[in-house]
Structures are given as structure tokens and as C-alpha cells.
């Protein structure tokens, strides 16, 4: 008979140290958990890129040869600014500053849209320079190269570039749409100093997307 009395006693009474869950409200916990899965999604794309790049370095060009680094550096700066405005929006509602919330949210949406817009322009130019995702049509001549010059890099370059940056751009776009919803709710006065969970949730997502971009910018454009 293994009825160790003290063990048994500890099993029989409600644990005094019991805390129901983490001291985080459920929506926020859910957002964290969701973002972990997003990490794995980008890991699979970035991991594939790393493997392909190590296996075929000749398919990839030196920084700045094909991709327009200065333009994207500006764009990266904008996205980081949008993270700052997002923090400002959250700080505003924490102070109960409803007007500040709306203005900073609007600023975040505008900068986020600007990022997507610049990315679209970048895509357009690159595509017309022959830097395309389809392997068969790849003929990027490079920024310094002239019309009809030697092809720089190989098809894996275009494929990985558009897949990674494209899915990031899609995440930014979804973020802008969600921010717009949050702004509409803010205009209706849905957020108060005591309850502004929606602002915090979209903020978490937005900072995550920003962080992913900093990684992508580094490994795709700068290395």
C-alpha cells in the first residue's frame, strides 16, 4: 500500500499556490501563441532560402547589384518609424488620450501603406529589369549592367526573393487592414484607458512584422 500520507494530502486539497493561467488576458496569450506559428512559417521560407543560397552561391548577386538597396533602406526606415508610431498610439490610450490614439494609428496606417506602395514600385521596376520569379524567364541584368548585359545571378534568386518579401508584404497589408479596423473602432470610441486590448493586440502583430522585415532586409539585401 503506497498511501504516502503527505503526498495524498497535497492531492486532496485545492493547491493554495494555484494561479489560473498566466497573468495575461486570453486574447494577448492567443496572439503570442499565434505569432509563434508565424515564426515557424517564416522559418520555413528563410531556412529554404539559406539552404538554397549555400548550395548555389552563384545564383545570388552581391548586395546592391540587382536589388536597389538605398530605396529599400528608406523603406526599412519607414517601417521602423511605423513601429514607433504604433508604440505612441498604445502609449496615448494608456494615458487615456483618445485623440492621440487616433492620430498615431492614422500615422501607422499611412506609413504602413507607404511601405507596401514602395515595395510595389520596387517589384515593378525589378520585374521589368528581368528579375522575375519564374525560372524560365529569369534574365536580371543588374542595376549597373546595361540592356542586354550578362545575366546576374540565377533563377533561385528571383524565386526566393519574391516568395519571402511577398509573404512579408502580404503580412504588412493584412496588418494595415486590421489597423484600419482598429482605427474605425477607435473613432467610435471603443477603446478606453482601462480597456484597449485591440490596440495592444494589433501592436504585437505589427512589431512582429517589423521584426521579420529587419531580418529579411539583412539577409536578402545586405548579405
Amino acid at each position: 500500500m503506497t498511501t504516502d500520507a503527505s503526498t495524498l494530502r497535497s492531492m486532496m486539497i485545492p493547491d493554495p499556490a494555484y494561479e489560473p493561467g498566466m497573468k495575461v488576458y486570453t486574447m494577448k496569450l492567443g496572439m503570442w501563441v499565434f505569432l509563434l506559428s508565424e515564426v515557424m512559417f517564416f522559418t520555413s521560407l528563410i531556412g529554404s532560402y539559406v539552404i538554397l543560397r549555400f548550395a548555389h552561391p552563384d545564383h545570388f548577386a552581391a548586395p546592391g547589384v540587382v536589388l536597389n538597396v538605398p530605396l529599400t533602406a528608406f523603406n526599412t526606415f519607414f517601417l521602423i518609424c511605423s513601429s514607433v508610431t504604433m508604440v505612441k498610439a498604445f502609449a496615448a490610450i494608456q494615458q487615456g488620450d483618445d485623440t492621440g490614439l487616433k492620430l498615431w494609428l492614422l500615422a501607422t496606417i499611412l506609413i504602413g501603406s507607404l511601405f507596401v506602395g514602395i515595395q510595389a514600385v520596387e517589384y515593378y521596376i525589378l520585374y521589368h529589369e528581368g528579375f522575375v520569379p519564374a525560372a524560365a524567364d529569369y534574365h536580371a541584368a543588374g542595376r549597373q549592367g546595361m540592356e542586354g548585359g550578362p545575366i546576374v545571378g540565377g533563377p533561385l534568386y528571383g524565386a526566393t526573393f519574391y516568395t519571402m518579401t511577398g509573404f512579408h508584404g502580404a503580412h504588412v497589408t493584412i496588418g494595415v487592414i486590421c489597423l484600419t479596423f482598429v482605427l474605425i473602432r477607435a473613432l467610435r470610441g471603443a477603446y478606453t484607458q482601462n480597456d484597449h486590448r485591440g490596440v495592444e493586440l494589433i501592436g504585437l502583430y505589427w512589431h512582429f512584422v517589423d521584426l521579420v522585415w529587419i531580418i529579411l532586409f539583412t539577409i536578402v539585401y545586405l548579405i
Binding site: 500500500m1 503506497t2 498511501t3
Partner: protein, 223 residues
């Protein structure tokens, strides 16, 4: 088949017996575990079946038992893994390919094996190479080194009697070797689903005595 068996047929390569012995060792170990656990299960089911007035004992577990049945399986399976290392390296490590091997190039494609021989000079990629389809002829007195490639999709070069299996992956060169232990005709199969004709992608491997092989080689090398 005349000499029917529930296990693999006798092998025809030098490392075949090593693999078969390993199989047998694992079969004995798992067989003992199989009969022990299933026997214990049946014994428990009969012994402790519900009977009127019978009550279960209040037992939560036993730390010593947990340690025992964690450590013992750990030691056994780790032993199996360590015992397997040698045979694995012998078969798959390219460093262990005997230097006196006959080099043969095999190109797998939908749905055939194209086997290229070095001809009389013993060197591949020289003018006297010749290619045969879906058959392979090798001498019994020296090892064969198969340089395996695939043209279109993944195939798998399977010599059941030689305990040889290696996927042929497009864009990669695989090294396979074996040393026959007896003459005769053996089967070449494809073990990886490769399309509609997967089932008919097969060939014949003939192991000749040294003299027969030379005769065959001379005959094939006639212009």
C-alpha cells in the same frame, strides 16, 4: 519459390550477411520484448479481470520501476544504434568504396535504367564507353561502384539480393557499391514512386565469373 522463408532471401553481396545478422539480432531482441509484453498483458488481463468482491489496489506508481524501465530500454536501443553504425558506414560512406571497383554509371529516368560501362580501358567518359538498357552485367571477382544519377524525378536503385538501396535524385550524384558473392541473375527494382510506369521500371543484374565477364565485355565492345 522453392525455398520459402518468412524472412529475407539469402543475400548475394559481401555486406549482405552483416545486415541480415543485424536484422536477426534486432528480431531476437524485439521478439523477446514482444512476447514478454504481450504475454504480460494477457496474464494481467486474466489475473485481474473483474470478479465480484474484488477491488483494485490504490497504487500510484513506483519510482524504482520507472527508473528500471527507462534505463534498460535506453541501454538496449542505444546498443542497437551503436551496433548499426559500422554496417551503415561500410555500405554508405563513399570512403569505404574499394579502390579496385569497376566503375559503372547508371542513369535512372522514366522508366528505365541506362547503364554505361567504361569499356575495355576501364575508364568512364572515354570513347569506348557503351550503354545498355535495363540490364547490368558485373564480374564476381571485383566490387562494382555504381555512379548513380537521375534524369527527371527521384528513383530508387534497389537490389534486394544485395541489400542495396539508394535514391537517385536529379541534380545529385550518388555513390553505391557492392561486391557480389555469387554468380547468377538478380533483380534491379525501383523503390521510389516515380510516375505512371513505376512498376515496370525494372532490370536484370547478371553476375558473371571473371572469364565470362571479360567475354561479355569484349563482345559488347565490338564496334
Amino acid at each position: 519459390m522453392e525455398n520459402w522463408s518468412w524472412l529475407m532471401d539469402g543475400s548475394a553481396s559481401t555486406f549482405g550477411p552483416t545486415i541480415d545478422r543485424l536484422y536477426l539480432v534486432i528480431l531476437i531482441i524485439t521478439g523477446v520484448v514482444f512476447f514478454a509484453t504481450q504475454g504480460a498483458l494477457i496474464w494481467l488481463l486474466i489475473k485481474y479481470r473483474h470478479r465480484a468482491g474484488h477491488k483494485a489496489e490504490y497504487i500510484h506508481g513506483n519510482t524504482r520501476a520507472e527508473v528500471i524501465w527507462t534505463v534498460i530500454p535506453f541501454v538496449i536501443v542505444l546498443g542497437i544504434a551503436l551496433a548499426s553504425r559500422g554496417a551503415w558506414a561500410q555500405v554508405k560512406d563513399p570512403q569505404n568504396i574499394p579502390p579496385n571497383s569497376l566503375p559503372v554509371h547508371v542513369m535512372a529516368s522514366q522508366f528505365e535504367w541506362d547503364v554505361t560501362y567504361p569499356g575495355l580501358d576501364g575508364q568512364l567518359e572515354t570513347g569506348d564507353d557503351f550503354t545498355v538498357r535495363n540490364r547490368m552485367d558485373v564480374p564476381a571477382d571485383r566490387p562494382t561502384h555504381v555512379i548513380l544519377e537521375a534524369e527527371d524525378v527521384i528513383h530508387s536503385f534497389f537490389l534486394p539480393d544485395f541489400r542495396v538501396k539508394q535514391d537517385a535524385v536529379p541534380g545529385m550524384v550518388m555513390n553505391v557499391w557492392f561486391q557480389p558473392t555469387r554468380t547468377g541473375e538478380f533483380v534491379i527494382g525501383c523503390a521510389e514512386l516515380c510516375g505512371i510506369g513505376h512498376t515496370r521500371m525494372r532490370g536484370t543484374l547478371t553476375v558473371h565469373s571473371a572469364a565470362d565477364y571479360q567475354a561479355w565485355l569484349n563482345e559488347q565492345s565490338q564496334p
